[in-house]
C-alpha cells in the first residue's frame, strides 16, 4: 500500500461503486475522475455520458468542461442537448447520476444556487444546470463532496436539487420512482441514507480517519451506522491509474495553455 491523499481516497471509493453495466451521467471534477478510473480498472465496459451530448466516451485525459473536444472525439456518438435531456436522461436510461454541490443537508438535498436570499444573495453560485432533473431521472445518485462544515449544513438556503427532501418517503409522495442519493462519498468517509428516515449516516470510514474528525467537519450532529467498516485503502493499481490520468490531464491542459498564450 502506498500513501494517498483524502481526495484520492474519495475518487477511488466513488470509482468502486460503479460497475460494467452502469450508464453514468458524469459531472465535472471528482465524478469525471471516478468514472474514468472505474472504466480503466474494474469496469472497462461502463457507459459514460456527459450532458453536452456525448454518449459512450472514453477520454484519455479528463475534460476541464463537460464539453471538451476529447469527449466527442472518443464518444460512440454525440447528440444534441435537447435530445440528451429528453431521450436519454428523462427517457430513464441512466442508471447512475453523479452530483456535487456547494452545500448538502442531512437528507442529501443540494444547493448550488445561492447563499443568502435568492433575490439578494450574499453569494451567487452557478446554479443548477442539469442537477434538478439528474436528481429525479437517474436510477440512483452518487454525490461526491469533501466533508466540511461549510458544505455539510443544518439547513440549505435553497434546494437546487432534491435528494430525500424532508426524509422518510418524501420522494415517493412526490411520485418519484427513482432511488435518489444512495451514497455520498467524501474525503473522510462514505455516507448512506438510513433505510427508514433517509438521514445520511456514516457507513464506512477511510483509513486513518477518526469519528470525531468526521463529526467535527459536519454542520449537523452526524450519525454513524450500527456497523461502520473501514474503507479498503486504494490499491496500487487504483492509485497508478488515477495518478496517470491526472498527470496526462495536467500535461494536456498545460500544452493547450502554451499554445493559446
Amino acid at each position: 500500500m502506498t500513501d494517498f491523499t483524502p481526495t484520492e481516497m474519495m475518487t477511488i471509493a466513488a470509482a468502486r461503486a460503479l460497475s460494467n453495466d452502469d450508464v453514468c451521467f458524469v459531472g465535472i471534477g471528482a465524478p469525471s475522475a471516478a468514472c474514468n478510473v472505474a472504466r480503466l480498472t474494474h469496469a472497462p465496459d461502463i457507459t459514460l455520458i456527459y450532458e453536452s451530448g456525448t454518449v459512450g466516451t472514453k477520454p484519455d485525459v479528463l475534460p476541464l468542461s463537460i464539453g471538451d473536444g476529447e469527449l466527442c472525439d472518443t464518444a460512440l456518438f454525440t447528440v444534441s442537448v435537447p435530445e440528451m435531456f429528453r431521450y436519454w436522461l428523462q427517457g430513464g436510461r441512466i442508471t447512475t447520476g453523479f452530483l456535487g454541490g456547494a452545500q448538502i443537508d442531512r437528507f442529501a438535498n443540494l444547493n448550488t444556487t445561492v447563499v443568502g436570499p435568492y433575490d439578494h444573495p450574499k453569494v451567487r453560485l452557478p446554479g443548477g444546470g442539469g442537477a434538478p432533473e439528474i436528481a429525479s431521472n437517474c436510477g440512483r445518485i452518487f454525490i461526491t463532496m469533501a466533508l466540511t462544515k461549510r458544505g455539510f449544513v443544518e439547513r440549505l438556503p435553497f434546494v437546487t436539487s432534491m435528494g430525500h427532501g424532508e426524509g422518510g418517503n418524501h420522494r415517493e409522495r412526490l411520485g418519484l420512482t427513482t432511488s435518489g442519493p444512495t451514497r455520498v462519498i467524501t474525503d473522510l468517509c462514505i455516507l448512506e441514507p438510513d433505510p427508514e428516515t433517509k438521514e445520511l449516516t456514516v457507513v464506512s470510514m477511510h483509513p486513518g480517519v477518526a469519528r470525531d474528525q468526521i463529526a467535527g467537519n459536519c454542520g449537523w450532529p452526524i450519525k454513524f451506522a450500527e456497523t461502520v467498516i473501514e474503507t479498503p485503502a486504494p490499491t496500487e493499481t487504483e492509485l497508478v491509474v488515477l495518478r496517470d490520468i491526472n498527470a496526462r490531464t495536467k500535461k494536456a491542459h498545460e500544452a493547450a495553455g502554451k499554445e493559446a498564450a
Partner: protein
Amino acid sequence: MARIMSLAEAVEENVRDGDTVAMEGFTHLIPYAAGHEVIRQGRKDLFLVRMTPDILYDQLIGVGAARGMKFSWGGNPGVGSLHRFRDAVENQWPRQLEIEEHSHAAMANAYEAGAANLPFAAFRGYIGADLPKVNLNIRSVTCPFTGEVLAAVPAIRPDVTIIHAQRADRNGNVLIEGIVGVQKEAVLAARRSIVTVEEIVDELSPPSPNSVVLPGWAVTAVAHVPGGAFPSYAHGYYPRSNAFYIRWDEIARDRETFTAWIRENVLAAKPEDFARHAAKTAAKVA
C-alpha cells in the same frame, strides 16, 4: 435566404438595442467574435439567453450591455465563478441584472419548443426543487390521458440568435459538427440569425446525409470569421483554450483588470484578430 456579409454588417443589421439575444454553443463553438462585435457596436439593454453563460456573457454583463439574462448554469466550467455575473447580481455593478433562472432540461426543452413553433414545453422536471418558487415562468400542465402533472416553461423565441459553425457554402447552408448543443434549435427558434463560420466553401459536403445542417433559407446572415469561437473551440479546426478559461478567473475578478482587458482585446480589436487562433493550430497540425 442567408446573405454572406461581414460580421460588422451582420451585427449592425440584426442586433438591436433591447433585443432578446441568444448566443449559443455548449462549451463548443461559442460565438466569441460575434459577441465582441456586439460589445464594440455598443448594443445595450439586451436580454441575454444562454444555457451556460460562460466567459462571453461575463464580458457582455461586465460592460453593461445586458438588462437581463435567462440561463441555467452561470459558471466558468471547471474553473469557478463568473465574477462579472456575480458582481452584477450581488452588487448591481455596472447595472442591475434581471435574472430568469431554469434548469438545463427546461432551457433545452424551451429551445426545442421554440424551434417547433410551440408556445410552451412540457417535461418531467423541477420535482422537489426550489426554482419554481422564485421563477413565475415555471408552471405546470396536466396530461389529458394519465392526469400526471408535468413542468411547463415558455418556448424561447429570441429576436436574434448568434452561433458559430464549422463551415458554410456560398448559398449560406451551414454545417455544424461534434458537440452540436442547442444551436440548431436556437437558430430555428429565432426571428433572425447570424452564423459565423471557420470557412466558406464551394461544396458543403456533409459527411453523412444526417449531418446537422441549417439551410441558407433558414439563416439571416453568414459571416466568415476564422477562429471566431476562441477561447472555445471548433471541432476539426482548433482546440479549446482551457488555459484562457483558467486565466479569465484572474482577469474578471477585478473591475479594473476586466475593463482594461475589454478595452485592449475587444474595443481596440477587430473580428480578423480571431484568425490567429485558428491559424496557429493549423500551422501546428500541418
